[in-house]
């Protein structure tokens, strides 16, 4: 139960908004829920709903709408490469393909050991440092910019070995 594991953090999140506007807390609570399993479980959805006085469906709706919330498990780490227009003009698509080939997977898939999922995403506001990707780790989202396939593989090796945020 999230409330048992993170009581102070939940309190802080709720206090971030006016007391009669608990619904606003759903989004940060969903990030908290996602921290546990890497995706938002049905049980977590219902607990968040109870915390803010909503139906489970209203919370589930948000999980489906926003790209950064997941409703099913994937790799421990999500490497999300921007392949949008400005980055693509600077070789991001080739970078993403090369990286996947080196990992033995296709874009969108997870490595067999379940450590890494590589995905293509839309603009990350790092267009002057392409190729870049964001790493969605259990503790949050971190940018890795001006990447090469080598530096990316080095990061993955480090993550596999020691976890953390790279």
């Amino acid at each position: 139960m999230l409330i048992e594991k993170y009581p102070q953090e939940i309190e802080r999140i709720l206090a971030n908004y006016p007391p009669d506007q608990r619904r606003s807390a759903v989004m940060p609570l969903l990030y908290l829920a996602q921290r546990e399993e890497g995706y938002v479980t049905r049980a977590a959805m219902e607990e968040v709903a109870a915390l803010v006085g909503l139906e489970a469906t209203q919370v589930g709706s948000l999980v489906g709408f926003y790209t950064l919330y997941r409703d099913e498990p994937g790799g421990t780490y999500h490497i999300q490469v921007c392949t949008d227009l400005p980055c693509a003009l600077q070789g991001a698509e080739a970078f993403a393909e090369d990286l996947c080939r080196n990992l033995g997977i296709r874009l969108g898939e997870t490595t067999p050991d379940g450590a890494v999922t590589v995905e293509a995403v839309m603009c990350l506001a790092g267009c002057d440092r392409a190729p870049l990707f964001q790493l969605q780790a259990p503790d949050g989202i971190h940018y890795h910019e001006n990447q090469t396939v080598e530096s990316a593989l080095e990061l993955i090796k480090h993550l596999r070995r020691e976890g953390g945020r790279g």
Binding site: R42, L54, E55, A56, T57, Q58, S61, G64, F65
Partner: protein, 828 residues
């Protein structure tokens, strides 16, 4: 001061509407049918589908004076922006010239239809909505002949997705109009379906347990403009154009929702007419265009194979099927000379015509007539003339006492919720939290046996402690212009309920409210025609049925099952010389009878019912009678004939004439008067189904409301307050509570609802459970009816400490609160 009028021109027609009217409504009223999908007149506009695009020409204004610029002929100079606008989101303004059929508008709508149809599947041949589909109709009227979209690009989505067991979703057909989601959130406050994903993948989803957990879910299939939402009940059932439609009234509660029963001849039923589905019929003063799922899906009892289709007589201890002639001969022989020793018991399910004949028979024989419903107050209930819950406003107040409307009369819950949203002060008075509390200005929860004190404080401002919620509620009530009081019997003994009803009756008289529009007392009867029974002079047994049976030799029961409700009565009935039971099913009471007569279900016959608001409404036959079943009024006349008492037996209409003559309040209630209908807003069904949904227009009658004017002499004197303070039993008290889906004989045969029917169980407060050493799901032993019953336990923080809630009509027979007879050490 009435709303200011706005004058504008729509497609060349001059139109005058109140300020604030949306252009789409103004156009509809003017006869200019601007097409819509996402717009619905009972929902807030959202401007999502973009189908209602029109051109608006606005009078130019002089920058300096602000006056309209006029041409040499004095006409306002108009400017058309060249852009299309959505009529559904735009309130009208003076001087507008609106074109809904200009080239630009027509082309714009053609384009929107093309977009909508890109990934919409060509399912028409297999889609239930075909024939009553707004998308079909509006595509024919406004769409391009061909699509330029390539079939291979079409998105593929789930097609047979059950959203719970009652409603199916086809995601490919969905055009993302949002009507279903918005209905659930805005109208019935059950946000159990929602949108998921985004863009083209935007789809409907449910995360409630069970899925689509709302007692109003069926209504979404009426307003869905495509075949995306269909009921499990009607799926692949029939084509709309094949079906007959018969107007009816819902038999399940006292609201009296107007229905349309659709039927069709079927080969697999031997060529018989079979009910295919039940739909709402529009009556803006009763149920608007909605019905709850119990009314929509709870009609299967009519065709249940358990139905009694032939009379039965007892031979050698067993009931055997026979003919009417033989059965009536047995009645004549068995009840010869019946008079004062005859007890007649009728239930509130029977129609006015049935009850009138029944009463006539008992009166003629001088027998004792008893209404098999202990809830008192029916001689005081009713509202002032022209009352309409839909007209309650900020100056009005409603008190809801001792009932959970959402479970007992869902459409009243909905109407009061909407009244609260319009500013009406709602005050709830219950033992426990109920769903109406969320919309109530004051929730006055009280303890068992303490309702009397709370009510007195509410009725007499100044009595409650200063600064308390109770005092604020009392002040609000005193200040209200109009007051309606709804009362039930939850947590009350018969004595308390009587005192409650009479007390409010006296208050309505004292405050000069009784007899005025939107004032009065309404009983939340458990059955559909209990009010009619009271109006026709039936009364509950003064001291209970057991007492009524004392000294009787014969009993005639119609539309009730006292033995089923209270097994302790079985022995008393067995002691009688002769018992005749007229019923739909072989109930426990019927099982003890000497003669059983088969009655027709409401679907097979006509008659009238009087709702809790005292609206008399007609219902018409939808399917032929089953077997040899007769309408109750006719069966009673047959029994009368057997006993030498001539009664009206020609038709229900003829009986109504007799009622008009015999019952002063019903003098004006003719079948013709009841069949009067007027045009209602919003338009629904037929050519208007794209606008208001597939609910049926009401051509068959809006019914007639009987006003009630109470005077002091109608009501008993105020009892001593000591009577209103009931002692609180030590330990746990069992309190029967209503559940919408219970195990009553008229609902149990609806297999579609089987997973939602309440089962025998007890709800406890976690603190009490802990003291008893019970966990959620544990099994408790209850000493009951001479034995011990094992009842599963559920925990809920909403249950007040000291109470154990038992769902009514779900296997554990309990009518009034009583001390919990817990078996010792019977905890599993």
């Amino acid at each position: 001061m009435t709303a200011a009028q706005v004058r504008l021109t729509i497609d060349g027609m001059p139109v005058a509407v109140p300020a604030g009217t949306l252009l789409v409504d103004a156009a509809k009223q003017a006869g200019s049918n601007v097409p819509v999908f996402c717009y619905h007149p009972k929902l807030d506009p959202v401007g999502m589908c973009r189908m209602c695009l029109v051109e608006i020409g606005r009078p130019q204004r002089d920058r300096a004076t602000g006056e309209w610029v006029r041409d040499p002929n004095g006409q306002p100079v108009l400017s058309f922006s060249g852009k299309l606008e959505t009529a559904c989101t735009t309130p009208v303004e003076d001087g507008w010239v609106v074109r809904s059929a200009s080239e630009l508008a027509i082309e714009g709508r053609r384009q929107i239809v093309e977009y909508l149809l890109t990934s919409h599947p060509l399912d028409c041949p297999v889609c239930d909505k075909g024939g009553e589909c707004p998308l079909q109709n509006l595509t024919m009227a406004h769409g391009p002949g061909k699509s330029r979209f390539l079939f291979d690009d079409k998105i593929r989505l789930d097609k047979h997705l059950p959203l719970g067991e009652l409603i199916f979703l086809d995601r490919e057909r969905c055009i993302q109009c949002g009507r279903c989601v918005r209905f659930q959130e805005e109208v019935v406050d059950d946000a159990v379906i929602g949108f998921f994903e985004r863009g083209r993948k935007l789809e409907i989803v449910t995360f409630s347990e069970p899925g689509f957990d709302s007692i109003f879910s069926g209504n979404t299939t009426d307003i869905c403009p495509v075949g995306a939402l269909t009921t499990a009940d009607f799926r692949f059932g029939a084509r709309p154009w094949e079906m007959n439609a018969a107007a009816s009234i819902c038999p399940h509660c006292a609201v009296g929702c107007n229905l349309m029963v659709n039927s069709r001849r079927e080969a697999k039923s031997g060529g018989n007419l079979v009910v295919k589905r039940v739909m709402p019929r529009q009556n803006e003063r009763v149920n608007e265009i909605w019905i709850c799922d119990k009314g929509r899906f709870g009609y299967a009892f009519g065709s249940s194979p358990e139905r009694l289709t032939r009379p039965m007589v007892r031979r050698d201890g067993t009931l055997v099927k026979t003919t009417w002639d033989e059965a009536l001969a047995a009645v004549a022989a068995g009840m010869r000379g019946a008079g004062k020793d005859l007890l007649g018991i009728a239930g509130g399910r029977a129609s006015n015509e049935d009850l009138f004949n029944f009463r006539a028979l008992l009166d003629r024989l001088d027998g004792l007539l008893v209404l098999d419903e202990p809830m008192p107050g029916g001689e005081w209930t009713g509202l002032g003339p022209g009352s309409d819950l839909g007209r309650l406003g900020p100056a009005d107040a409603v008190v809801v006492a001792a009932c959970d409307l959402h479970a007992e009369a869902p459409i009243w819950w909905l109407r009061l919720k909407q009244a609260a949203e319009r500013g009406t002060t709602v005050i709830t008075l219950n033992l426990r939290p109920t769903r109406l509390d969320k919309h109530a200005a004051y929730c006055l929860q009280h303890g068992l046996g303490e309702s009397g004190d709370t009510v007195l404080a509410l009725q007499h401002p100044g009595r409650a402690p200063a600064g308390s919620r109770l005092q604020a509620a009392a002040d609000a009530l005193a200040a209200a212009e109009n007051v309606i009081v709804f009362y039930g019997r939850e947590g009350l003994s018969a004595v308390e309920c009587q005192a409650l009803a009479a007390g409010w009756g006296r208050w309505l008289v004292k405050t000069s409210r009784s007899g005025k529009t939107n004032n009065g007392l309404v009983a939340v009867w458990p059955r559909s025609n209990t009010q009619g029974a009271w109006d026709l002079g039936l009364r509950p047994a003064a001291d209970g049925l057991l007492q009524a049976l004392d000294g009787k030799r014969f009993a005639y029961l119609m539309a009730c099952d006292p033995v089923g409700d209270d097994p302790k009565l079985a022995e008393a009935f067995r002691q009688l010389e002769f018992v005749v039971v007229q019923e739909l099913f072989l109930t426990p009471t019927a099982g003890l009878a000497d003669v059983v007569l088969p009655a027709q279900a409401f679907l097979e016959r006509d008659g009238t019912l009087t709702s809790g608001e005292r609206r008399v409404q007609r219902f018409y036959p939808g399917v032929p009678a089953l077997g040899d079943a007769r309408p109750d009024w006719q069966a009673v006349a047959s029994v009368g004939e057997a006993l030498g008492v001539p009664l009206e037996s020609r038709s229900a209409a003829a009986i109504m004439l007799a009622i008009q003559a015999a019952v002063p309040d019903y003098a004006e209630v003719s079948y013709q008067a009841l069949a009067q209908s007027t045009e209602q807003w919003p338009p629904v069904g037929g050519a208007d189904m794209y606008f208001g949904g597939t609910a049926y227009k009401n051509h068959q009658g809006l019914g007639a409301q009987l006003p009630r004017q109470l005077r002091a002499e109608h009501l008993p004197a105020e009892p001593p307050t000591s009577l209103l303070r009931q002692p609180r039993p030590a330990g746990l008290t069992l309190v029967p509570v209503a559940r919408l889906y219970d195990q009553g004989i008229t609902l149990r045969p609806s297999t579609l609802l089987k997973d939602r029917l309440a089962t025998a169980g007890i709800e406890l407060n976690p603190q009490d459970a802990e003291q008893l050493g019970l966990a959620h799901g544990a099994v408790l032993g209850l000493v009951w009816a001479g034995g011990t019953q094992e009842i599963p336990v559920q925990l809920s923080a909403d249950v007040p400490p000291g109470l154990a809630l038992v769902p009514r009509s779900s296997g554990l027979k309990l009518d009034e609160p009583m001390a919990a007879p817990l078996a010792r050490a019977e905890v599993r």
